[in-house]
């Protein structure tokens, strides 16, 4: 192991960070999932972590981006892009040039379209594998990363992926550390420029603050008043459930075990 790790000096990790939006006040902040991604990168042993942001630089976004610098970084690469531009070509070019081993991103942006498509498009363009919804990176050995993917209902799945790869971070990833004020002030932005492409479709769409979705009405398709009354007054019923009376405990347990096996909840 020792000579190999000497040959590969360290794992180069690039974290794509964005300007987030506070859900209540709407103020710019560090995006939650991106901050989790930075925390994940910080927890990797022997890793060299770079921060990369593509977007415009103004007062509010700078304050938000300094939140990432306060997590223990001295500089952040900023690809300058005008507002409403498609940042994909610029990011792809920058990643192609630096060619990191691992790219970490959040699942979706907190501003703009927020479709969560950027990592997939980057992976498609660079030809790298992509793993979505990470909870943790367990280890990185010989160019293969062992990852823990978060599934719904608190479940986890173990995956191995060949590097270089792009991964996105789930809400189940470790909570980000607090941003320290001093390092955040001292950190520097390394400005670069890249190709600019306008997003014309986005400009053509109508965008408005989200309104509450209408609640789905319970439509009762009943022919008679009796059916309508039954539907309105009904308790939740399974209907046609199997009832085992006068069975020995073992027989009952076997029936339950069969159901649990069918539903595949036993591990």
């Amino acid at each position: 192991m020792q000579p190999e790790s000497a040959m590969t000096p360290g794992l180069e990790v690039t974290v794509l960070v964005s300007v987030g939006r506070h859900p209540l006040t709407g103020r710019a902040r560090r995006a939650d999932q991106d901050a989790r991604g930075v925390e994940l990168a910080r927890s990797l042993a022997n890793a060299e972590v770079h921060l990369l942001h593509a977007g415009e630089r103004d007062e509010s976004s700078e304050a938000a981006l300094r939140g990432y610098l306060g997590m223990g970084f001295t500089e952040l690469s900023l690809l300058e892009q005008p507002e409403g531009a498609d940042v994909l070509p610029a990011l792809a070019e920058a990643l192609d040039a630096t060619s990191p081993h691992l790219v970490i991103a959040g699942e979706r942006a907190e501003r703009g379209e927020g479709s969560g498509l950027l990592p997939y498009l980057l992976a498609e363009r660079l030809g790298w594998p992509l793993v979505s919804g990470l909870a943790a990176v367990e280890s990185v050995e010989d160019g293969v990363a062992t990852l823990l993917q978060a599934l719904p209902r608190g479940q986890r799945r173990r995956l191995k992926v060949r590097l270089p790869a792009i991964v996105t971070v789930d809400d189940a990833a470790p909570t980000p550390r607090q941003s320290a004020y001093g390092p955040a002030r001292r950190g520097a932005f390394e400005m670069t420029t890249g190709p600019v492409s306008d997003d014309e479709e986005w400009a053509a769409w109508q965008v408005q603050p989200a309104r509450q979705r209408p609640k789905r009405l319970k439509i009762v398709k009943a022919a008679s008043a009796r059916d309508r009354f039954k539907a309105a007054a009904a308790k939740s019923e399974g209907g046609g459930g199997q009832v085992l009376t006068d069975v020995t405990p073992t027989q009952g347990a076997e029936a339950i075990l069969t159901l649990l096996r069918e539903e595949d909840v036993l591990r």
Partner: protein, 422 residues
């Protein structure tokens, strides 16, 4: 034979005339013990009050006024609603609408059904040029009623390459579908169960710009595909109105599920075998997580205890062996046997488990509300008449302590055998 009712005046006359020698015979042929209601020759409705109702189990005559019963024999009115739904078959569709349901737990989820409802809207909008809904299902499934959900064609891919977490192989299969049938729309659930990821991969591969988080679709003649959609953007903070693109990832409740028709769900097959791709992602399967660390509201498998549990150490041991998250009814919490955050029901947590095992819980209405969305409910109880038994898919009447002990022994034995075999 046609279903048109043909009237035979002579038979009707005999059926009306109780003194006719062939009266009983004709009524039997008409499928009724005795006609309670018929159209008279003058166009009036005639009723025979003696023929109404049926004799109940206690020997007392009961009259059901819901309209489902006619005559003493009950008639043919008790046909289940599933058979009454008209079957829609689309022989030569003008276009295809492809849907890739999540199939969480091997069944169509509510989200999948909503999506299929949306697909039906898109397919049936034009009465002249009708489309067919194709569902692409990966891996083994337990769903029996694909037709009822509104699926015209079913493409079931059950090869080992697409099993488990294999997004690249599944994407390859979807690309084959695209090449073979070129669906006009691709609809996927925007969910964490795999649909959201697969849809984004598909869109990136096809070079389409998908609409994500779609929650409303409306016809619009000016749009490119003839549809306008409303989608959530910016982590749910924005509503974006835009023309519906080819690939759409829709949220739950984006449309009403299909309920009035059933469809053919005819089997389709891919014209060529799946390409063998070298996957760069290796799946090592699910990792066992500590079930007590999983939040009760999102736990998949809950073992819940109520007043009927006497052996608490045995219950905790059973939960540990089964790998279930522990829940409790209000009584068990009030008596101090379980923590307050484990309470299931209206005042506690509303759970969404796939399997809910209620041990010694009689099923107060508040508790039943809390488990409304559970798929399978198993009840272990002493009282065969309680409400939980009515709700349960499987109920075992007996002493919960002994049954749990037997269950633990069976599971331990199965694990032992597995270990010996391995």
């Amino acid at each position: 034979m046609s279903d048109l009712p043909r009237r035979d005046p002579r038979q009707e006359w005999i059926a009306r005339n109780r003194l006719h020698p062939r009266h009983a015979e004709v009524l039997l042929a008409a499928g009724q013990g005795a006609a309670s209601e018929w159209w008279g020759p003058g166009g009036l409705v005639r009723r025979n009050p003696h023929a109404v109702g049926f004799v109940g189990p206690n020997g007392v005559k009961r009259i059901d006024r819901s309209g489902t019963q006619q005559g003493a024999g009950g008639g043919g009115a008790a046909t289940p609603p599933a058979e009454r739904k008209p079957l829609v078959e689309i022989e030569a569709p003008d276009f295809m609408v492809a849907v890739v349901p999540d199939m969480a737990g091997g069944r169509l989820s509510g989200h999948d059904r909503d999506l299929l409802g949306l697909a039906r809207q898109l397919a049936d909008a034009d009465q002249v040029a009708r489309g067919a809904v194709v569902a692409v299902v990966f891996g083994p499934h337990k769903e029996a009623n694909f037709g009822e959900a509104g699926i015209d064609r079913l493409l079931h891919l059950d090869s080992p390459e697409v099993a488990g977490y294999a997004p690249e192989a599944r994407l390859g299969a979807l690309i084959l579908v695209e090449e073979a049938w070129a669906p006009r729309h691709w609809l996927l659930p925007d969910s964490k169960l795999g649909g959201g990821e697969l849809g984004r991969r598909l869109a990136a591969r096809l070079g389409e710009r998908p609409a994500t988080g779609v929650w409303q679709v409306a016809a619009d003649a000016e749009a490119v595909m003839g549809w306008q959609c409303t989608a959530r953007g910016a982590a749910g903070a924005l509503d974006i109105r835009r023309p519906l693109p080819r690939v759409a990832l829709a949220l739950a409740e984006c449309a009403e599920p299909v309920s009035e028709t059933r469809h053919a769900a005819a089997e389709l097959a891919l014209p060529q075998p799946l390409p063998s791709t070298l996957s760069r992602i290796q799946d090592f399967g699910q990792v066992s997580v500590d079930p007590s660390g999983v939040a009760l509201s999102e736990a998949e498998f809950i073992l819940s205890a109520g007043n009927g549990v006497k052996d608490w150490p045995g219950f905790h041991h059973a939960a540990e062996v089964l790998g279930a998250t522990e829940g409790a009814s209000r009584v068990a919490v009030d008596d101090g046997f379980m923590a307050r955050d484990r309470q299931v029901g209206a005042t506690g947590t509303w759970v969404t488990a796939r399997v809910y095992v209620a041990v010694g819980i009689s099923g107060a209405i508040q508790h039943l509300q809390g488990i409304q969305t559970c798929d399978k409910v198993v009840a272990i109880n002493m009282d065969p008449g309680c409400d939980m038994i009515k709700r349960a898919d499987l109920a075992v009447i007996g002493d919960s302590t002994q049954i749990l002990e037997a269950l633990v022994a069976l599971v331990a034995q199965a694990r032992e055998e597995k270990r010996d075999a391995a």
